[in-house]
Each structure stands twice: as C-alpha cells, then as structure tokens.
C-alpha cells in the first residue's frame, strides 16, 4: 500500500479514532506512518487546528485551497482525498468538476477567486509572493485572521503533498485524473522584499506568559519571527511547536543534526533565505561551523559529511523539489545506505515539515531575527565556541565504545553476552527512567521494555554513538512515551515551560561552610531524592543524567534529542530549583550557625 512497513495501531489510537469520526476511514497517508505513532499525533494536531476547525475561513473554503493547490502540484493522492472531503462537506459533484476544470470560472465570488489565486501562487511559486499580494487581498475584504488561515492551509497542503509522495500513499478512492499541465501561470518578477516585517497583524506576546513562545525560547534560545507572525492563532502555534518537538527535536531515530541538515538543504533548495539563516543559527549553536553549514546549503556533495548523510540529503531535496520524479527507488537507495524504515519515514516527515515551514514564512513575510535573549549572551556564546573547539560534534566522528565487542558478539548470536550488557548498564538505565518517570515501580517496568527494545533493534544500532548513549536514549524515549501516555500527563514539554528569564532566586541566605556535615549520608540521599522527584519532568531528567549519572553535555543532549543550548538552559534551571529546595536545610539560620 505504501513504500514503508506498516503496523497495526488499532482504532483506539486517538488520532485514528478522530479520523474515523471525521472521515469514516484512516487515510493511507497516516496508515503509512504507523511505525512512528508520535509523528501521526503531531500531524493530526496540525490537521485539526488548521483544516478542521472553523474560525475565519469555512472548512469548504480551506478545502478549495487544498484541492486547487494539490492539483497544481499534480498530487493524485491529495486531489483524490480532498475531492472526497468536499463531497462529504456537501459540495455537489458538478461544482467540484467546475473547480477542477478552472477555479476562476467556477462561479465563486471574486474575493474567493482572488484568495485561491494568491494561495496557488504562494504554494507553487512562493518566491514571487510580495507584500502587495497579501495587502491586495486584505483590501478585498479578507481579514488578517482569514489571510493567516489561508497561508497556513497552503503550507499544510504542501506538507501533505510532500508527505504523501514520500511515503507512497495510494489513493483511498478511484484516483482523479489530473489534466495535462497548461501553461504555467505568470507571476511577474521574484519578490525582492527587504527586512520589513511580516505582512499580517500580530499581537506582541511575552514568552514568560505565552507557552508556545516559551517553548521556542527553551528550544532555540529565541522566538523566530515566523512564529511571532502567527499570534492570532495560539492553538495553531501550539500544534506547530508540538510538531517541531516531535519531528525535529527528537534524536532517537535520525540524529537531531541530520534533521537540521535536512531543514537546511531543503530550505536552500526552496531558495528560502529566511529558513537557511535560521538553520545556520541552529547549527551554529549545535557546534557546526558557519562554513560547514554554508557548504551544505550551497552543495552538500562538497560538504564534510558521511556518504550516507549525503544520500539522505539527495533524497530530501528530490522529494521536496522534484516530487514527480520521486518514487520507490529513492526509498530503496536510502535502505541500501543502511537507513532503517523508521529513519526513512523521519526523513520524509522532516522534508515535509520543511516545505510547510518554508511556505509559511513566504506567505507571512517574516524577516530573519536572531536577537538573542540578551546581547551579553550572544557575545559569550561566540567566545565559548572559540574556547572549546574540540568539543564540536561531527557526523563522521566515531567515539571509542567499550561495549563494541559485546554488541558484536550478541549480533553474532551469543545471547548470554546480552545479559552482561544488561548488568553493566542496569543502574544507568534505571536512573534515567526514575529521572523521567519519578516512580520506582514504573522505572523497573520500563527497564524491561528498554532492554527488550534495545535487543530487538540491535541490528539498527549504527555505532554513530556509544552503546551506552544509545541505550540511554532508548530508555529516555521509553520513559517519555509512558509519560505522554499518562492521563493527566506531566509532559516534558507542557509542564509550564517557563523560560529561565523569569527565574529569580528566593532563598538568598548564606549556607553553612560544611553542609554535608549537618546530616547523615542517608538523610542527604533521601532529601536529594525527594527534591529531585518533585522537579517537573523536563528538569528532573536533565539533573539526573548530568549531575547524578554524570553524562557529558553532549551525551545528555543526544540521549534526550535536545540541542546544547536548550539542554544547558534546562540544566541550569533544574539545578537552581534544587538549590532553592535544599536551601532551608543548609542555611546557617535554621541550624543556628552564624552567617
């Protein structure tokens, strides 16, 4: 049915339950992604907030945008599916045929026709979009809210078209034939818009009390303008943040760096200056030198990358900009390079997400913005990079792995050696899981899952990282998944992600000189365990891995799929919270020691 292996998730899987309710079936495009349920969840949230919710535009207006653009993209899957959607929404077959033949002659209102001309231009030839296109529509009576929805729907259509091509989804209904392409529309000169702000009205928001922005400050160190331009719809911003967190920020399947490379290479192929710049900044904070990221944008074949990663970028660029030439052989090529099913799927989803983000930015007109949290920090990070050049991670780097020999033995069928691996790493895996789950019983239970998964996927372990780091990343993903599954979820992303800006120390009484002398070792251990257990999960896990497990910053970042700046911010915040909690026990005042 598609290019990738599928598994049964059942109709109780929440996104599938929603699809069954809304459409009466589970679309193949999602069925094809069942090996990675978390991306389906993220996509379903985008679909629900952008397409299915009726606010400024009606669902039919939005489906018209999808249908006409999918037709222009010559994507049979999306055309067929959204033709069906419009029928479900009660649009007569005859009217659909007229739209299909020529939307401009389909008896739509002038304003609707103008809107479709705009979304088609944005979706197919974005670099020709200028401020006048947007203001022109505003002049025709469309509000900022409806233009924002139109731009988002256009971006989502490109997302769905790329995704369905990438996974090879087969239409659910008799495929609609798309007539041969007519002359391509003339859109005038490419826009040479300078740095002049976004086209639509937006509301100023403070990251401290606006969770979607707090997320970006936390993860990127800044709120990209492309998101600042969408504050009219906080619900959609939240769905976008969640998609970015599930697709880009995870590191257990493709590494985060590989996904940032896809973002960069595809944005460059789309000639999207804005995202190339943002991506350069993200890669810089991950320790990739500017000349290396520039080279990937210009021509990744000449960049310092492993052959497999070059093939990955070939795959992504072809899918993004030459979808009509993309097919099963491209998936096979990645498999030959050793990529797993899950990795191929992530590459497809990451490419689709990049097309979404690129289209969105062009429509919104957001201009590059790297204003750091404060100037001081920017200078500091520049200096910090210079002073620690040998800590930069590179893709080709192979750390020496003390477990390599044991892993090879297990792969060759010597099962007993796996027990040695369990014994060697059980303490670390347990600590990781307790750190995430905050509960001993559950941690032990999740330990079993972790080692079983590690065993099942040992063939996919590519020795890009050490076995222990790989194991910790499986443990943390297992733990995080359980956390998400909890009903009143205490999630790593949702627990009041306040930026560290707002953190002010409350306990400022001096501590005694020898605090560890005040209590017994057992008392201190109990105190620390209680304190750590009370931290919100996202801080707890970082404190456990860094300060208790004593993993390096790089290892922790890799295991949790976080960028180094985000990790450092969380770590600092977690440490300061522990300090606050311990303070009353060790300040001179409470123990009668003079300050």
């Amino acid at each position: 049915m598609s290019y990738l292996r599928e598994v049964e998730l059942g109709s109780s899987f929440p996104p599938f339950a929603t699809f069954l309710e809304e459409f009466g079936f589970v679309p193949h495009i999602f069925q094809a992604q069942t090996i990675l349920p978390r991306v389906i969840e993220a996509e379903a949230a985008l679909l629900a907030t952008i397409l299915l919710k009726e606010q400024a535009l009606s669902q039919i207006q939005k489906e018209y945008i999808v249908l006409t653009l999918a037709q222009a993209n010559r994507n049979v899957y999306c055309v067929t599916a959204h033709h069906q959607m419009l029928r479900l929404l009660g649009v007569p077959e005859q009217q659909l045929d007229r739209i299909f033949a020529d939307y401009a002659q389909a008896g739509l209102s002038a304003a609707d026709t103008d809107l479709l001309s705009f979304t088609l231009k944005l979706g197919t030839n974005g670099s020709f979009v200028s401020r006048e296109d947007v203001t022109g529509n505003l002049a025709h009576g469309w509000t900022d809210e409806s233009m924002l929805e139109a731009i988002l729907t256009t971006a989502l259509t490109n997302f769905l078209c790329t995704l369905s091509t990438g996974v090879g989804a087969a239409p659910e209904f008799t495929p609609r034939q798309i007539p041969a392409a007519g002359p391509s529309p003339l859109f005038g000169k490419p826009s040479s818009e300078g740095a002049s702000g976004s086209y639509l009205r937006a509301i100023e928001r403070n990251p401290a009390d606006f969770p979607p922005f707090a997320f970006f400050v936390d993860e990127f160190g800044f709120v990209p303008n492309v998101f600042r331009a969408q504050t009219l719809r906080p619900d959609i911003l939240e769905a976008e943040a969640s998609a970015i967190s599930m697709v880009l920020l995870t590191g257990d399947i493709l590494s985060r760096l590989q996904k940032e490379y896809i973002l960069l290479a595809v944005s460059a192929a789309n000639l999207n200056t804005y995202w190339v710049a943002v991506c350069g900044e993200l890669l810089r904070t991950s320790g990739v030198a500017a000349e290396d990221s520039d080279q990937i944008g210009a021509d990744h074949h000449q960049a310092r990358l492993a052959e497999a990663d070059k093939a990955l970028l070939d795959f992504a660029r072809k899918l993004a900009v030459q979808p009509s030439r993309f097919g099963r052989p491209d998936v096979e090529t990645l498999r030959h390079h050793g990529f797993t099913e899950e990795q191929v799927l992530e590459a497809v989803v990451m490419t689709s997400l990049t097309n979404f983000l690129n289209t969105l930015q062009i429509g919104l007109g957001a201009t590059p913005d790297f204003a750091p949290r404060r100037l001081f920090l920017r200078d500091l990070s520049k200096i910090a990079h210079l002073s620690t050049p040998d800590r930069r991670p590179t893709l080709g780097e192979r750390p020496i792995d003390p477990d390599a020999e044991s892993v090879a033995k297990v792969r060759n069928g010597n099962l007993d050696v796996f027990e040695e691996l369990i014994n060697r790493h059980s303490r670390r895996v347990y600590r990781t899981l307790v750190g995430i789950l905050g509960n001993d019983d559950e941690a032990r239970d999740a330990m079993q899952d972790t080692f079983l998964k590690a065993f099942q996927h040992l063939g996919e372990f590519q020795q890009r990282s050490k076995f222990s780091t790989w194991l910790v990343s499986i443990a943390s993903n297992t733990g995080l998944q359980r956390l998400r599954d909890r009903k009143h979820a205490e999630s790593l992303d949702e627990d009041g992600s306040v930026s560290e800006e707002g953190f002010r120390p409350r306990e400022v009484r001096a501590w005694t000189d020898d605090p560890e002398e005040l209590c017994s070792k057992a008392e201190i251990r109990a105190l620390v365990e209680n304190t750590v257990m009370k931290l919100p999960a996202k801080y707890r896990v970082v404190v456990v891995l860094r300060d208790l497990e004593q993993l390096s910053i790089e290892e922790t970042a890799e295991a949790l799929g976080l960028g180094i700046p985000a990790l450092k911010a969380r770590h600092l915040r977690g440490r300061l919270m522990v300090r606050e909690a311990l303070s009353p026990h060790f300040t001179g005042g409470t123990r009668g020691v003079a300050v």
Partner: protein, 80 residues
C-alpha cells in the same frame, strides 16, 4: 554592566570554567559587590556537590538481577 539576572544565566558555565577570561572578569566584578549572587554561587556549588555525592537512585547491580533474568527469559523465549 552585568545584572544579577545575567549572572544567574551564566552561573553554570562559570562553575564549570566555561567562560572566557574577559567574561569571567565581568562576572567576578559583579560578584565583588553583590552579596546575593555570592550566596547563590556558593550555595549552587554546594548543591552540586551534595547532589553528586548523594548516590541518589543508585541501586546495587544485584537489585536488578530479577529484572535481568526476566528480560533474558523473554529474549530466549523469542528465539526458540
């Protein structure tokens, strides 16, 4: 000029010796006349030591023996 918030943001890097010489100078200059930051720095350093030395959540390998055995039983069962 460095504020207390600036200092707080760099406290971890400072403790780990990850700041450049001129920044360190600025931080220490602030520290010399800010008692609050002195206290926070000192107690954060002590917090780190307490947490790291506490051995929290560390159980002996033997505590996991039953789990290891149960995992191995499942793996061997799968192979058969």
């Amino acid at each position: 000029m460095i504020s207390c918030a600036d200092f707080m943001a760099e406290i971890a890097n400072y403790l780990e010796g990850e700041v450049a010489a001129d920044v360190r100078l600025q931080l220490e200059n602030h520290l010399s006349h800010c008692q609050t930051c002195q206290v926070v720095l000192d107690s954060t350093r002590k917090t780190l030591k307490i947490v790291t030395d506490s051995g929290s959540f560390d159980l002996p390998e033997a505590a996991f023996k039953p789990i290891a055995e149960s995992i191995m039983a499942k793996i061997r069962g799968e192979r058969r």
